[in-house]
Symmetry: C2
Subunit: 422 residues, 2 copies
């Protein structure tokens, strides 16, 4: 405990600078070197030992821990080398862990080092390590969360200020919540990486990213938000994973990211703006929820430095391994396809206002075994068409999609939006 | 890791039985013996080795960990002996830790064992260990929580069903949320123990329980809840602690438990029924909140078993200490007296409806340097008196109390209730 922990930091962007600032208060941590792309760029923090060669860090025998806050998949080889050189890893890199976590965790186990990644999911919210420690008695059945602050900010603004998706995206970009190319956030990739990482530790299974269904928020209109509100719902981009049985009765995981109508009674409905929340359900704990800032320089830094201090606290021991943090599972989950899942659906339908149209909708529902739970038509539009909102009972995704397809073949009924209901 | 962890359990009530049930799924934990008061009582679980002598457990060299789920202060001597015998402790005993934690933690440090107590605060919610690990980078400025499920249940029912305190207490007793003698819950003792324990680790200071101000919910009427609602507030029993400066400019802690008006925009306002919530504020994390079941057989068991598994995972190491869990601070906090704190206040006033009464209230406020933020009188009562609601700006507790005392000396104005505003 008396010796300093020596770290090398890869990346000196927003989070990297936060980490340097916060670590300045901890005498027992020494930043040996920081690797950056651009050596001459102006930064908030002064670093005496900057390098543009990451290998200088990962091959430096003096360094105990590599703190990777650069992001992107390009760091994979460097982290591999660091692990082979017996260095512990602290990383905030969700895409890397979601795609290549299995390889890296295997390698870490073989080399008796750990990979800590509290900052990779839900920024400053402690969730990874609590699942591995305080909650380790549990057998979880589900996890659901608002894991992407950008999209939650956009949906909140659309709802509260009755603005279009495009206007709110622009606002988010101006505030720095969204990037110039927003695809990673608004199409659900970022939340998908995070729910993959969470599922991995919640269910102790490896996750195949390509089998996770994801859908973004670009089709959500402020009209959908208003109509959902009338039925008692908010619309949120929720990342979720639950244990279930597949059609053959085998255990499987249903993992996905898409917009959902969340009942206003549900705690996730109250999560506003860029805030993140993670809700776990399991036995014996029941339901437990964690709420906080999902991104940003300092919240993310809280998790990165928390991981560094946890390693520091444990590394003083002779065997140098943190058993709770080692990845012990190697088998892949049986992941269910979205078509085989059952959900309730909100449908916003545009129909010609001719006699029998509602009847046709009803008949189609019957044909595909879909029960309706709510139906609402409020008057007739200027072009004599009608907006009809339908909320179904639980039915198969496959059936609802087939029904929508059948509507598309007629000229009278158009499903303008279909959103699942949580 | 291959060897079994051997535990002795003290207490086989609701939580004790939950622990036995959940541990049956973990092959690497062996329950060596369980100590109970009554050997012949019928129980849900079968235990082969029951004893009525706790010393048989704490003196048994085979046992690694004593799991104390009996509660009460009577276990102190047994736990002392256990620690002297180099046994780790897992306990859910909030009163014991709040009163004698310092002595026990000192002894544990001297004997190279740890005391884990995740279940002592907020039942199933992971909060103690996350503060010590994932959040260890933070310097906290405040913690606030709904830490007592019984009172939160009563306040929720009073508000939602417009019932009296007495009726809701009875309901809570029938449901098993409140004990026959409800004083520990409704007078704020339970929440006081928990905020003492939380303050201890959040601020790294020892806490003098006798300096914590506590006030229960027995004076809250459904009328107060209704009036608060009109102003945009809920009334909650909140346990809170924050860093501040005392009147001489020295650092101090303001720790207290009492009912408060919580703005409906505040996340704590949404916490209903027996649910608990803990909100932390610090740097770099910002705000982070944890929500879940604060009591009950299984949620509490989740935390107890989580602690056991954390010890199991770490005890395999040669030095057998979990550095993150050791209590490293020994100095007492400078705790501010409630009289020296500044708050906003809700006052429910009964005044004679004579000309000049409002003027007298206003003058008294002026005399004691109290600015008003809201005032409301709706008509006149049947007895010609008037109910007047006042919400003040921030002022000293001492001043508001002196003003109330002055009113008591007149016959025209009576403060029927005074509740602080968060």
């Amino acid at each position: 405990m008396d010796e300093k922990l020596k770290i090398g930091i890869v990346g000196l962007g927003t989070v990297g600078q936060g980490v340097v600032k916060v670590l300045s208060k901890f005498d027992d941590i020494e930043i040996v070197a920081v690797a950056v792309k651009n050596l001459t760029k102006k930064r908030d923090v002064q670093i005496s030992n900057l390098t543009s060669d990451i290998y200088e860090l990962v091959n430096n025998p003096e360094i105990d821990v590599i703190v990777e806050v650069a992001g992107g998949l390009g760091v994979y080889e460097y982290l591999r080398t660091a692990i082979l050189n017996k260095k512990h890893i602290v990383t905030a890199n969700k895409e890397l862990l979601a795609r290549y976590g299995s390889e890296l965790f295997d390698l870490a186990r073989q080399n008796n080092v750990v990979i800590m990644y509290e900052a990779a999911v839900a920024g400053g919210i402690p969730i990874i390590y609590p699942i591995k420690t305080s909650l380790s008695a549990n057998s979880f059945v589900g996890v659901a969360g608002i894991l992407n602050g950008t999209t939650n900010y956009i949906l909140t603004k659309m709802e509260e200020e009755n603005l279009s998706y495009e206007d709110c995206l622009l606002k988010a970009q101006q505030l720095g919540y969204a990037e110039t190319d927003p695809v990673g956030d608004v199409e659900g990739y970022d939340a998908m990486y995070k729910i993959a990482i969470l599922s991995n530790i919640v269910f102790n299974k490896r996750i195949d990213l390509s089998k996770i269904y994801h859908e973004g928020i670009t089709n959500i209109s402020s009209l959908d938000l208003k109509l959902a509100d009338e039925f008692g719902y908010k619309i949120k981009l929720v990342a979720m994973a639950k244990k279930m049985s597949d059609l053959s009765g085998n255990d499987c995981l249903d993992i996905r990211v898409h917009p959902v109508l969340v009942s206003k009674d549900e705690s996730l409905a109250d999560i506003k703006n860029a805030t993140n929340a993670v809700k776990l359900k399991g036995f014996p704990v029941g339901e437990v929820m964690f709420v906080g800032a999902g991104a940003g320089e300092f919240p993310t830094t809280s998790s990165v430095v928390g991981d560094i201090l946890t390693i520091k606290s444990e590394i003083s021991k002779q065997d140098k391994v943190l058993p709770m943090t080692v990845c012990h599972h190697t088998d892949y989950a049986n992941q269910i396809h979205i078509d085989d899942t059952q959900n309730c659906y909100y449908l916003r339908i545009n129909a010609s206002n001719t006699p029998g149209t509602i009847g046709k909708i009803g008949l189609a529902c019957g044909k595909f075994n879909i029960n309706l739970s709510c139906i609402l038509q409020k008057g007739v539009n200027e072009d004599r068409s009608a907006t009809i909102i339908v909320i179904t009972e639980e039915c198969f995704e496959r059936d609802i999609n087939n029904m929508i397809k059948e509507f598309e073949e007629t000229s009278e009924v158009r499903v303008l939006n279909r959103i699942r209901v949580m």
